[in-house]
C-alpha cells in the first residue's frame, strides 16, 4: 500500500456536481426548491413536496447539532486504515436537513445528541472537500 490517497472519489456529475464543486470552495451547498422553498439533501431530480425540478443552491451556515455517530475501528478499506479510529457523525443542520460528516477530533469524548457542531472542509487529493464537523 502506498501513502497515496486512494479514497473512493465521487463521480461529481449531474445533480451531484454543484454539491461537490462547492466543497472545493469550502461551502456546504444544499439544493433548494424554487417551486415551494423546501430544501433537500442529498440532491434529487424532483421535489417530493411540489414535484418541481426547478431548483437553486443555498450555502448552509455549517452550524448544527449532533444527531448520532459511529466510531469505526475496523479497516473496511485500505485508504482509511491509517485514519482509524475515526468517527462518522450525522448532524442536524440549522437549515433543517441532516448531513453526514467526519468528526474533526478522531474519537470524540462524551458525545451526546444535541451537542453543537460547526462544519468545515478539508481538501481531498481529488480537489473536493471532506465535510468535517468540529465540536464548538
Amino acid at each position: 500500500m502506498t501513502m497515496n490517497d486512494s479514497k473512493p472519489t465521487p463521480s461529481a456529475d449531474g445533480l451531484s456536481a454543484p454539491y461537490w464543486e462547492a466543497t472545493a470552495r469550502g461551502e456546504l451547498s444544499i439544493q433548494h426548491c424554487t417551486g415551494c422553498d423546501n430544501l433537500r439533501h442529498y440532491p434529487s431530480v424532483l421535489c417530493p413536496h411540489c414535484y418541481s425540478s426547478d431548483h437553486d443552491w443555498i450555502i448552509a451556515s455549517g452550524r448544527g447539532q449532533l444527531h448520532s455517530w459511529t466510531v469505526t475501528h475496523h479497516s473496511f478499506h485500505p485508504a482509511f486504515s491509517a485514519l482509524l479510529p475515526y468517527t462518522l457523525v450525522t448532524v442536524d443542520l440549522e437549515e433543517g436537513v441532516r448531513a453526514l460528516g467526519l468528526l474533526g477530533d478522531g474519537v470524540g469524548q462524551n458525545l451526546k445528541p444535541g451537542m453543537p457542531l460547526q462544519a468545515r472542509f478539508q481538501t481531498r487529493s481529488d480537489g473536493f472537500g471532506d465535510l468535517i464537523f468540529d465540536i464548538c
Partner: protein, 385 residues
C-alpha cells in the same frame, strides 16, 4: 382458520453452508432449486415461474437452460436485499392468484469467498448510489458503519445497552449449536460478546453476521393445490413489504430507529387475522443484533424503545416466550440473505425442526431487512391436509 390462504410454501431446499467454497453462486442456486423441487414432489418441468433473489443472482434464463424448463410463464426480481425473499413470496402469491403460474421457484445462492467484501459489493448496487456518491468518499464503507448510527441513536434515546445486544447474539448462537448446518459451533456467553473487538461502535464483532457460501430455495404453490402435494403444507396467511422513509440514505431518515417493517407488520398481521400472542416461533432477519431488537419493536411485540428489555432473560431462547432464529440466523448459522430464515420457519411449521423444534408450533413469522431499511414479513401457519 378464518383467513383463506392465498399461497403455500410447498418445497424448501438448502445446501450445506461453508466458507471458502469453490462452488459458484449459480451452481449453489441450481443445487438448492433441485432440492426444493424434489422436496415439493415436483419435476423441474412443473416450474412455471422464477423469481431469483439478489441483484447478483442468476437471471431466469439460467434456470430455463439448466433445469430444462419448457414453458416459463413469469419471471421477476425483487431487489430489496435481505427482504427480497419474502417480497418474492408476495410476488409469487400474486401471480398464482392471478392464474399466471402454478409453481414458482425462488432460488438464492452466493459465493462471497471468491468475490469482494460486503463493503465493496454494496457500492456496485444501483440502490446504493446516493451512499456511494456522498458517503463512501468520507469513509462510510460497509453496512456495519451505515447501520451503527441507527443503533447508537436508539441507545441514546432509550438507554439500550451493548449487553442487551449481546442477549440477541447469545440466544441465536445457542440455537446454532443445535443445527448441524450452522457455521458457528462454539458456545457464546454475554462476556464473550462483550470481549469481542469493536468493529464500528456500538457494533462489536459478535453483533455482526457471517459472510458465507451456499444456496437456499423455495417453491410457492396455490394453497388449494398444496393440500395434495408431497409435504405438509405451510400456508402464508399474511404478507407485506414496507419501505422506510428516506429509503436511499439512512442519514436523512426522520426517525432513524424505525424501519420499513414498521409499515409492513400491521398489514401482515391484519391480513393473517392473528395476534402477537399467536406467534409460536419467529425467524427475524439478523444482519446485526440491534436490527433484531428494532424489528421486534417495529412489529409491535413491545413499544418503541423497549426492545432492549424485551430481549433480556432469555425471551428469544427456545424456552422463552418468543423463540427466535431457531436455526442460528445470519449471526451464527450462515448469511443466506434471509432465505435460510424462511426455510427454517417452514421446517418448524412442518414439525421438522429437529433438536430446535418449538413444540407444537402452528403459527410463526419470518422477517426480512435489507438495502438500508426495506422490510418484509410473512406470517405462516401449519396447513390442514
Amino acid at each position: 382458520m378464518k383467513v383463506r390462504p392465498k399461497g403455500s410454501v410447498t418445497g424448501i431446499g438448502e445446501t450445506a453452508y461453508s466458507r471458502g467454497s469453490q462452488i459458484s453462486s449459480l451452481e449453489y442456486q441450481l443445487q438448492a432449486s433441485l432440492m426444493a423441487i424434489a422436496d415439493a414432489g415436483l419435476s423441474p418441468k412443473d416450474i412455471d415461474g422464477v423469481i431469483p433473489i439478489g441483484l447478483t443472482g442468476a437471471p431466469a434464463e439460467e434456470f430455463i437452460t439448466n433445469l430444462g424448463i419448457e414453458d416459463l410463464r413469469y419471471s421477476a426480481l425483487t431487489p430489496m436485499g435481505g427482504a427480497s425473499g419474502i417480497a418474492a413470496i408476495q410476488t409469487a402469491m400474486a401471480v398464482i392468484e392471478a392464474g399466471i403460474c402454478k409453481h414458482v421457484l425462488i432460488p438464492s445462492g452466493r459465493n462471497v469467498s471468491s468475490g469482494a467484501s460486503a463493503g465493496v459489493r454494496i457500492h456496485q448496487m444501483p440502490q446504493f448510489h446516493y451512499i456511494t456518491e456522498y458517503e463512501y468518499p468520507l469513509g462510510a464503507i460497509a453496512p456495519a458503519q451505515l447501520y451503527a448510527p441507527m443503533a447508537r441513536r436508539h441507545m441514546e434515546l432509550y438507554g439500550t445497552t451493548s449487553r442487551q445486544l449481546a442477549e440477541v447474539a447469545v440466544a441465536v448462537r445457542t440455537h446454532a449449536l443445535l443445527n448441524d448446518n450452522a457455521l458457528m459451533t462454539k458456545p457464546m456467553t454475554i462476556a464473550d460478546h462483550q470481549a469481542s473487538r469493536m468493529i464500528s461502535d456500538p457494533f462489536r464483532l459478535f453483533d455482526c453476521s457471517l459472510e458465507s457460501d451456499g444456496g437456499a430455495a423455495l417453491i410457492v404453490s396455490a394453497a388449494d393445490r398444496a393440500r395434495d402435494m408431497r409435504t405438509h403444507p405451510v400456508d402464508v396467511l399474511g404478507i407485506a413489504e414496507g419501505h422506510p422513509d428516506s429509503p436511499s440514505a439512512i442519514t436523512h431518515r426522520p426517525d432513524m430507529t424505525r424501519l420499513g417493517l414498521a409499515k409492513a407488520a400491521p398489514v401482515a398481521f391484519e391480513m393473517a387475522g392473528v395476534s402477537h400472542a399467536d406467534i409460536d416461533v419467529a425467524e427475524i432477519y439478523d444482519c446485526f443484533t440491534w436490527v433484531v431488537l428494532c424489528q421486534i419493536e417495529d412489529m409491535g411485540f413491545c413499544a418503541k424503545g423497549e426492545g432492549g428489555a424485551f430481549v433480556e432473560n432469555g425471551r428469544l431462547s427456545l424456552q422463552g416466550s418468543l423463540p427466535t432464529n431457531t436455526h442460528g440466523g445470519l449471526l451464527s448459522q450462515a448469511h443466506m440473505l434471509g432465505m435460510n430464515h424462511i426455510v427454517e420457519l417452514v421446517r418448524q411449521l412442518r414439525h421438522e425442526g429437529g433438536k430446535a423444534q418449538v413444540k407444537d408450533a402452528t403459527t410463526g413469522l419470518v422477517t426480512g431487512y435489507g438495502d438500508l431499511g426495506d422490510g418484509a414479513i410473512a406470517i405462516m401457519s401449519r396447513g390442514m391436509r
